[in-house]
């Protein structure tokens, strides 16, 4: 066990897999770590700023026997390559009747919270999740970042690794040796009784912090990190909600058609879980705006601990518990109100 940063964990994953398998190559406009030094310019390639061709090359070289890692840097930049993702990568194997495999790993950073404004603060996981045909991982700790990226590189399908910017410098224990984390397995980060909170990436930490805080108030919060978005480990999430009867999902993407929406639907459509659900599902997501630049606005646009707390209180409120709860809920009301404010559209409609 060593304590390393999220970024170091990701760099180790790439280096270890490149050592392990000579067919693994990595391409991007820039690198963290120095893969060129160890693996040379043939296997670690600086590319022109041409994400579309880069993304399609990943498929072509993967379909020809290699195992490329394509790094878009920021998810923002992947959108110029979206045709290759939507029309090629997510469909190519099925469309061709499974006659070839495409073991390509696409990597990019996601998320806001660091003052980079609308274009550079995006978390559009759900746009990829909607595309049947891609596996998607979203680690929240250095150990998972390393273990999931290594599994992604070894997977024989296109896998997208979303890497949360705000976690880059965070540190955590990472097992020594060949540390793998299986794709498709969620983790219960904290066991609880009263409410299930599913957090994504940065918000796993935030959810855990809130859970710790609320434990003092006698509220027992179970925190789950899906870790993989496709395939989603629905069994683990449903089992938790069947136990607690309440669900809060925290995601820094806008709520509409988000991963949070999907998780809510997976709960609402499952008969057993639905019957166990005692309170309305709570989505704690970003406001429906491009992430603004100015700190007070960005802070208001993204979920906060106060928002998570307020949502937990609401979930408990709506199933009527003690007055202390009610007061607490009210105290967090304002922020909860903002978080839940529908966009003007809904407002008009409501």
């Amino acid at each position: 066990m060593r304590e390393i940063t999220f970024q170091q964990a990701l760099d180790e994953a790439v280096a270890e897999e490149m050592r392990r398998d000579a067919r693994v190559i990595t391409m991007g406009t820039d690198f963290t770590g120095d893969p060129v030094k160890e693996f040379g310019p043939a296997r670690a390639r600086f590319t022109p700023i041409s994400e579309a061709v880069l993304t399609g090359m990943g498929l072509g070289v993967a379909g020809s026997g290699f195992r490329p890692i394509v790094n878009w840097r920021m998810v923002t930049f992947s959108f110029v390559a979206m045709d290759q993702i939507v029309n090629q990568a997510s469909k190519i194997r099925y469309m061709f009747g499974g006659q070839a495999d495409f073991p390509v790993t696409y990597r990019c950073s996601t998320g806001g919270g660091i003052g980079l404004a609308a274009q550079h603060s995006q978390s559009p996981y759900s746009m990829w999740m909607h595309l049947a045909g891609l596996k998607i991982v979203l680690p929240a700790t250095p150990a998972d970042a390393k273990g999931l990226l290594k599994s992604a590189i070894r997977d024989n399908n296109p896998v997208v690794s979303f890497e949360c910017s705000r976690l880059n410098t965070s540190t955590g224990p990472v097992p020594d040796g060949d540390h793998l984390v299986p794709i498709g397995v969620a983790e219960v980060k904290r066991v609880g009784r009263d409410v299930t909170v599913v957090g994504l990436a940065y918000y796993v930490r935030e959810a855990l912090a809130v859970a710790e805080e609320l434990a003092g108030e006698g509220i027992s919060v179970e925190v789950i990190d899906p870790r993989t978005l496709v395939p989603m480990d629905v069994a683990t999430i449903r089992a938790s909600v069947r136990k607690t009867g309440r669900l809060v999902v925290v995601d820094e993407a806008p709520a509409t058609c988000s991963a949070a929406a999907e998780i809510a639907a997976l709960i609402a459509e499952d008969p057993t879980t639905f019957r166990a659900l005692r309170a309305p599902v709570q989505r704690v997501c970003a406001a429906p705006v491009p992430v603004p630049y100015s700190p007070p606005l960005e802070g208001a646009a993204l979920p906060s601990r106060g928002d998570i707390k307020a949502a937990i209180y609401r979930a408990i409120e709506d199933t009527g518990r003690s007055g202390s709860r009610r007061r607490a809920a009210v105290s967090a009301g304002a922020s909860a109100g903002r978080r839940r404010r529908p966009d003007r559209a809904d407002a008009a409609a409501e």
Binding site: P48, V53, Y94, G97, G98, A100, P103, K135
Partner: protein
């Protein structure tokens, strides 16, 4: 580069096979045996055949929405092609792909593509694989004049130029993109002019002359195999039929004289004439070729017709590799 009789016979056979395959595909689409859209390659046979005649089975090509000719020229089995058009389990994609998504990785046919320009990046990937393998392999990318208006064209040629990828870009300039003449797509009539700025040779060749296409491709391929990088080859040609059909055959929108002029330059008649003049093939032998093609196609149709439709229970099969 003199050709022997076997080579000429092989190319002539491939060109006739491509033409007959698509002529029959049109009929079969009208008959409702084939579904979705069909984009006939008729008239452009010299390009696919001339190009692929200098490729090894280990060389990889990417194709377009108008891909039947490329598949046949690269060595795909027309029985499995026809079965795919029929939507049957013995088709190349088990019926999941259809006309616009036929692929045969075993012979280096990395797939037709329904996206204009979509194959260019994938071809660059195949070229990168060849470069990394270091065995002198090459990639070939077929695309149309319309595709040259897409950004992926630029990105592909640029990275191929920077990395000196072993790839030959074959632009089939058939003068039209759907119903739009090339002038709607480009400021000038030629695509080849873009090559220079990417640091690669750009040549224009008569796309209805299979020998010219073969010679120009041979040079570009040799260059790529020597590690000297990429080339752009623009083949001027013409499609004899409509852009695409679904249930019905669309009305012709192009000038009748233009069509007539191009049909007078029939690439198949041209190669047949060459073979006769040089005494490489007799008229009887050419007739025999035509007869052989007919029976091969009937055989492919019978094969396709005998193949079962996929079982809906297999809907989720082939999604993910283990």
């Amino acid at each position: 580069m003199e050709l022997d009789r076997a080579q000429v016979a092989g190319m002539l056979h491939a060109m006739i096979l491509i033409r007959e395959f698509d002529e029959r595909a049109i009929q079969l689409r009208v008959a409702g045996k084939i579904y979705g859209a069909v984009h006939p390659y008729v008239g452009q046979e010299a390009v696919a055949v001339g190009v692929c005649s200098v490729l090894a089975v280990t060389d990889r090509v990417t194709s377009t929405h108008r891909g039947h000719g490329h598949c046949i020229a690269k060595g795909a089995d027309i029985r499995r092609m026809m079965a795919e058009l029929f939507g049957r389990v013995d088709g190349y994609c088990k019926g999941k792909g259809g006309s616009m998504h036929i692929a045969d990785f075993a012979v280096g046919m990395l797939g037709a593509n329904g996206i204009v320009g979509g194959g260019l990046p994938i071809a660059c990937g195949a070229a990168l694989a060849a470069q990394l393998e270091g065995k002198g392999g090459v990639a070939v990318c077929f695309f149309g004049d319309g595709a040259a208006a897409e950004g992926e064209f630029h990105e592909a040629l640029n990275i191929a130029g920077v990395w000196r990828l072993p790839i030959v870009f074959i632009c089939e300039n058939n003068q039209y993109a759907a119903n739009n003449a090339v002038g709607v797509q480009h400021p000038g009539p030629d695509i080849a002019g873009h090559a220079a700025a990417f640091g690669m040779p750009g040549a224009i060749v008569d796309g209805n002359d299979v020998l010219a296409v073969r010679a120009a491709t041979a040079e570009a391929v040799a260059r790529a195999r020597r590690g000297e990088g990429s080339s752009l080859l623009e083949c001027k040609t013409y499609r004899w039929h409509f852009h695409a059909m679904r249930a019905a055959i669309p009305a012709e929108t192009r000038p009748a004289e233009e069509i007539a002029a191009w049909k007078a330059r029939d690439p198949i008649a041209r190669l047949a004439g060459y073979a006769l003049d040089r005494g490489l093939l007799t008229a009887d032998e050419i007739e025999a070729l035509r007869a052989r093609v007919k029976s091969e196609i009937e055989d492919a149709i019978a094969f396709a017709d005998a193949s079962p439709f996929p079982d809906p229970k297999d809907l989720l099969v082939d999604m993910f590799a283990d």
